[in-house]
């Protein structure tokens, strides 16, 4: 069964059509890049998968279920904005996540924090933007989830940290789990992706594997993206 499935998924905000009848399947064990320019519908799709928005029409299913309490147990979500309580220090935050999620792996989180030399006694609000992003991503990747939905996970960090974060994603997802990464920083992520979905103004304009694009087009996903979305 597909980890994530969209069937005729449509979302309108008033007269604005954010997603227009999307059909999409994400299979277990695959890393999918959701790629599109700003305002193309990436975040809307991810929010629908998390039950933060409801479809105008059509369906979105996680492991066959509509988003709700049961799917939140198996979906680990990194929002595009910081949404962790900033008054907590890291140790408190880890306790908070462990209380909320039965699949939270405390050892894994501690190990990653140590590798990035993040002090557990530090309060979130005292951290730089990049460090907050790292901490938030660590909490998300420390869950043993079936589906990771990462909305712009590498937007605000330096290139060395970006490499570490991508290695963290590769190294930590379960072989049966799926990862969806939304981003417009394609060059940085394309080596870690299996599949790509190009989305433009609420529609899927291309769906392929990274290997196929390179083999058939003789160019990188990044280069193809620049062609498809030339302004």
């Amino acid at each position: 069964m597909a980890t994530l499935e969209c069937i005729g998924l449509t979302k309108r905000y008033g007269s604005v059509e954010a997603l227009d009848s999307i059909d999409l399947k994400v299979e277990p064990g695959r890393i999918t890049g959701l790629l599109g320019p700003n305002g193309s519908g990436k975040t809307t799709l991810i929010k629908l998968a998390n039950g933060l928005l409801t479809p105008t029409s059509g369906k979105i299913l996680i492991g066959g279920m509509e988003p709700g309490v049961e799917t939140k147990k198996i979906v680990s979500y990194l929002p595009e904005r910081l949404d962790i309580p900033t008054w907590m220090n890291v140790t408190q935050l880890l306790g908070f996540f462990r209380d909320f999620y039965a699949d939270f792996d405390l050892d894994r989180a501690r190990d990653m924090l140590a590798k990035l030399s993040i002090d557990e006694s530090m309060k979130i609000k005292a951290m730089s933007k990049g460090t907050r992003e790292k901490v938030q991503l660590i909490t998300v990747m420390s869950r043993r989830a079936k589906l990771y939905l990462l909305d712009e996970p590498i937007g605000g960090v330096d290139p060395a940290t970006r490499d570490y974060i991508l290695a963290t994603i590769i190294g930590n997802y379960d072989p049966e789990a799926s990862v969806v990464i939304s981003t417009h920083l394609i060059q940085d992520v394309e080596n870690v992706l299996d599949d790509v979905v190009f989305i433009d103004r609420g529609r899927i304009v291309l769906r392929s594997t990274v290997d196929d694009i390179r083999e058939k087009e003789g160019k990188s996903v990044d280069a193809l993206f620049r062609e498809v979305f030339r302004c």
């Binding site: 991508l166 290695a167 590769i170 080596n191 990274v210 390179r214 160019k219």
Partner: protein, 119 residues
Amino acid sequence: MDWEFRQDAPIYTQIIEGFKLSIASGELKPGERLRSVRELAAWTGVNPNTMQRALTELEREGLVFAQRTSGRYVTEADDAVDRVRRELAESRVADFLAYMRKLGFSAGEIVNIIKEGDN
């Protein structure tokens, strides 16, 4: 191994090339155990499925072999290193010749240029 990937070819083919180069140069020794797919993927910065695909292809070509429980190893076949060296060399030579012909050099001229260049 240098894991800078080119833009114009699939990543798994470049990984295969990288392994072949390491086998040919002796950086990877016959019988040496390879790290797990996941470790290799994290090390090279690619997706585990991509690494798996590359290793499966290397297995198919007889350059690595899998042992049911203990992982993958570099082949110990005597001719493997020679075969890979030969193959990589031929591929480079083919590219080089195509380039030189584009520049308008004849076979004889190309041979002379190589001799001069190797001094």
